[in-house]
Amino acid sequence: MLDTLVIPLLKIVVLLNAILISVTFMVLMERKVIAWAQSRLGPMRVGPYGVLQAIVDPIKLILKEDITPVKADKMLFSLAPILSLVPALVAFAVVPFGGDELFYVADINVGLLFFLSVTSIGVYGIILAGWASNSKYPLLASLRASAQLISYEIAVTMTLVSVILTSGTLSMVGIVEAQLADGVWYGFIQPVAFVLVMIGALAETNRVPFDLPEAETELTGGFHTEYSGMRFSLFFLAEYANIIVISAVTALLFFGGWLRPFPNVEALAFLDIIPGWIWLFGKIFLFLYLFMWIRATLPRYRYDQLMRIGWKLLIPIALANIVVTGIVKVLV
């Protein structure tokens, strides 16, 4: 009873709180990083260097009036933010933050696929939000979101197949352990897959340069145009939770998760003083920073260009990557 119910529940509670708090601070970090890129200061008023902004922002969002448009589809309008947030949080269930069993909720044998399938559910939040608002810009946004998700999910899934081929397992813990056994981070032997997954991650989390469903300069905010207050902040949470989980998964799959650099080089054994979860958090931070850096730098792609890249570039490369990985696997 204790092992099957209480401990996992405790873990889940701790994890959820950690995610929610880290999201608020990630928003602050994003504002600071982008401000730094744009030669300005960012939030400075609340607390020293604006640190407390992370706490004030959610409070403000919660206290705001929650408006439902008169002609909106009430049921779906309320359901959509939840549909968008829940998968993002559920996806954390299979993310191991360390090799010890203490650090993850569940290590199921189809962990990677579970992650993919759960994140693919998240798009319903966006699509239904756009449709339920009964407004034209959100509708366009949900059309864009559905088309975008389909094309990039295929590419990402196919790319991950080559990682699975290399590691021989679908379990997240197993993949990291395979990297330890192979003595190399898969980012180095699957560089193409890494780049593809990064691009796909940008597209699946609707981030610049693929932020078409919420392009505020085109669609006035896209699918969350009609949302306000708490519901809006749920979308916000979902987006950032998604970014964190995708960063974590990328770090696990390609950068050895909680492993130190060159895990099988004995000379670097002194690095083991640093616990594994700090390594992982450091890597996640790097990816988060990458997301923000890209957001500050790049313009936005156009819808048709996005589809073209997805179908004509990413999917063929992913297919070729699978074939090459397979051949190498057979030969070696």
Partner: protein, 171 residues
């Protein structure tokens, strides 16, 4: 006990959602019910310890195909009331035939499955030199069911080519 409870709960949910899919007046609502239905089916697979199938069910059906449904439903103007048919009973006849066919099929399945001994695929045996859900599935697909598998993939390829030709009017 717990498994049986889960099974029956899920079955009721699946049936109820299925009814909801065809009775809801709004198309988008029925698509949402369909998604929930698929999720329940996936949960049923988990109960049956077919995790791989469950995850694929979500990934392909809930995450992929139904998204396309929604895409089409939102693109196409379905606000108009469906036209009245000239012969109101014509649909009834077709429905009768179809439901009869489904009934026969169900009966066949029941008869067929009762006539066989329950097979045990979970224990490692000489027929399955590998262990684990996915591995077993892969083994079966590429040994016993290789030809149906390849035929199915060729069929899908044909469908894909056909769709492309239909979509591109000038080729």
């Amino acid at each position: 006990m717990a498994e049986a409870l889960a099974f029956y709960t899920l079955s009721i949910l699946i049936l109820g959602l299925g009814v909801a899919v065809i009775t809801t007046p709004k198309t988008v609502h029925s698509v949402v019910f369909l998604v929930l239905n698929f999720l329940c089916v996936a949960a049923l697979y988990v109960v049956l310890q077919a995790e791989f199938l469950a995850v694929i069910q979500i990934l392909v059906y809930a995450g992929g195909i139904v998204v396309l449904y929604l895409f089409v439903v939102m693109l196409v103007n379905l606000k108009r009331q469906p036209e009245e048919h000239q012969d109101p009973r014509r649909l009834a006849k077709v429905g009768l035939v179809l439901s009869g066919a489904v009934l026969v099929e169900l009966a066949a399945i029941v008869v067929y499955s009762y006539g066989r001994e329950p097979s045990s695929v979970s224990a490692p045996s000489p027929a399955f030199p590998v262990q684990g859900n996915i591995e077993e599935l892969g083994w079966l697909l590429y040994t016993d069911y290789l030809i149906p598998f390849e035929v199915a993939s060729v069929l899908l390829l044909v469908a894909m080519v056909g769709a492309i030709i239909l979509a591109r009017r000038e080729l």
